[in-house]
Subunit: 241 residues, 2 copies
Amino acid sequence: MLTKSHVKLITSLKQKKFRQEHQLFVVEGIKGIQEFLNSNFELYQLFSTEAVFNAEIILISEKELQKISFLKSPNTALAIFRIPAVVQKELNGLIVALDDVRDPGNLGTIIRLCDWFGIHNLLCSQSTVDCYNPKVVQATMGSLTRVHIQYVDLEGVLEDYQNEVYGTFMDGETIYSETLPSSCVIIMGNEANGISEPVKRLVTKKISIPRFGNLQATESLNVATATAIILSEFKRNSIEM
Amino acid sequence: MLTKSHVKLITSLKQKKFRQEHQLFVVEGIKGIQEFLNSNFELYQLFSTEAVFNAEIILISEKELQKISFLKSPNTALAIFRIPAVVQKELNGLIVALDDVRDPGNLGTIIRLCDWFGIHNLLCSQSTVDCYNPKVVQATMGSLTRVHIQYVDLEGVLEDYQNEVYGTFMDGETIYSETLPSSCVIIMGNEANGISEPVKRLVTKKISIPRFGNLQATESLNVATATAIILSEFKRNSIEM
C-alpha cells in the first residue's frame, strides 16, 4: 500500500538536497529498474502496478503510480535505490571530465556515450548537474550502473594529473590529425561558456572539431554531440583495421 | 498592440495542422530571429518588448510576451515567419535521410549537425517530426536557415537514387574501416525501431558504429549522437592532413 510518507519521500527526491540527505534516488520504468536490480546498486523500495520483478514490491494502482511518477507517461513501476558510497578510483585510461555541464539531458547522453565507448571514469566538477537527478537517470537508460562517476574539485584533480589534459577550443589542433593517446583526460565545458578560465589553465593540449559548413554562421556544436565525435575519434585509433 | 487575433494565430501555430494551413511558423529570442531576418526567410510579424531589430515591430509588454511565448523563459521577442515554398533540389553530395525520427530535440540537433558538417540536403520521411515545430526551430539555433529540408516519400526517392544508400545496423561493417564516398545517402532511423522494413530493402551498404563498452548491456546510441559520429567519420576523410 502506498502511504503518505512514501509519497512525501518520493516527491522530495526530485530535489538534490533531499537526495543527498536521504542518500536515495528514483528510477522509473521496468527496463531501467531491471538494469539497476542486476547491478551493484542496492534497492530501497519498489512500487509497481504489476508483479513483474524478481524483488519485493509494494503493489500500487495506476492512479497511485500517476501520483508519485515524475514522468508524463509513467511505465508500470517506480523504484528508490540507495546512492552508492563514492569510491575513489585511480585515474587510468581515457577519462572524461565535465566542467560545469548543466543540462540533465546532456549529462545523461554523455554517460551513455562513456558506456558505449568503454570509458569507466567520468569526473564532474561540483557545479555539474547531479547524476542522480531524475532526468539524468531517465536519459542514461541504465548506463549509470556501468560508468563510475565522481564529483570532484576538478582543478585540484587536474593539477595532480600526470598525463595530457585535452580541451576543445575554436583554435585547437584538428582532432582528425592529432595522434590521440589511450590514457588522458578529455575536458568538456559548460553549454554556454565552454571550459572555465581556471580549468583552461590546466589544459595541456588544445583540440578542435573542424567545421565544414558556413564558417561565419554555424553555431557551435552541442556539448553531447561534440563529446560523441571526440570519443569516436579517440577510440577509432585503438582498433585494428 | 497585441490583439486577440494575434494571440489566436500564434497559439494555433503550435500545431502542425495550423502551420500548414497558414504556412507560418514561430521563432523566439533575439538571436534566432536575427538569423532568420538575415536569411531568405520572409518575415510575417515581429512582436518585441524592445526596438532591437532593423525591421518593423509590434511593441508589446513583458506580460503580453509571456502570454504568447511557447517558452518558460521568453526572451524579448517572438516572430512569425512564412514557411518557404519547397524547392526540389538535385540530390548531390552527402545527403542525410531521416526515416521516421519523432523527437523534436533529435531533429533539431541533426539539423545543426548537417549545418556544421556542410551538408545542405536533408530528406525527411513524411512521418518525421515537422521541422517548423517550435521545439525543432528552438533547437536548431538558426541552422534551419542554412540546411535545405525536404519531406518526401523516402522509398520513392531512394528507389530512383543512383549512388550508395548507407544505413546503420548492428551487423553492419564498422564505419572506421569503410572507405566512405563523398556522394551518397545516409539513412538514420526511428528512435525506438530503427530503419523501417521498406526502407531497409533499399539500403545498399550496412554500416555500424563499433561498441567498446560491455557488449551485453550497453544500450544503443541516441539517433542524434549516432548521426554526429557517422557524419564526422564521413567528413574526416575529405580533408587533407
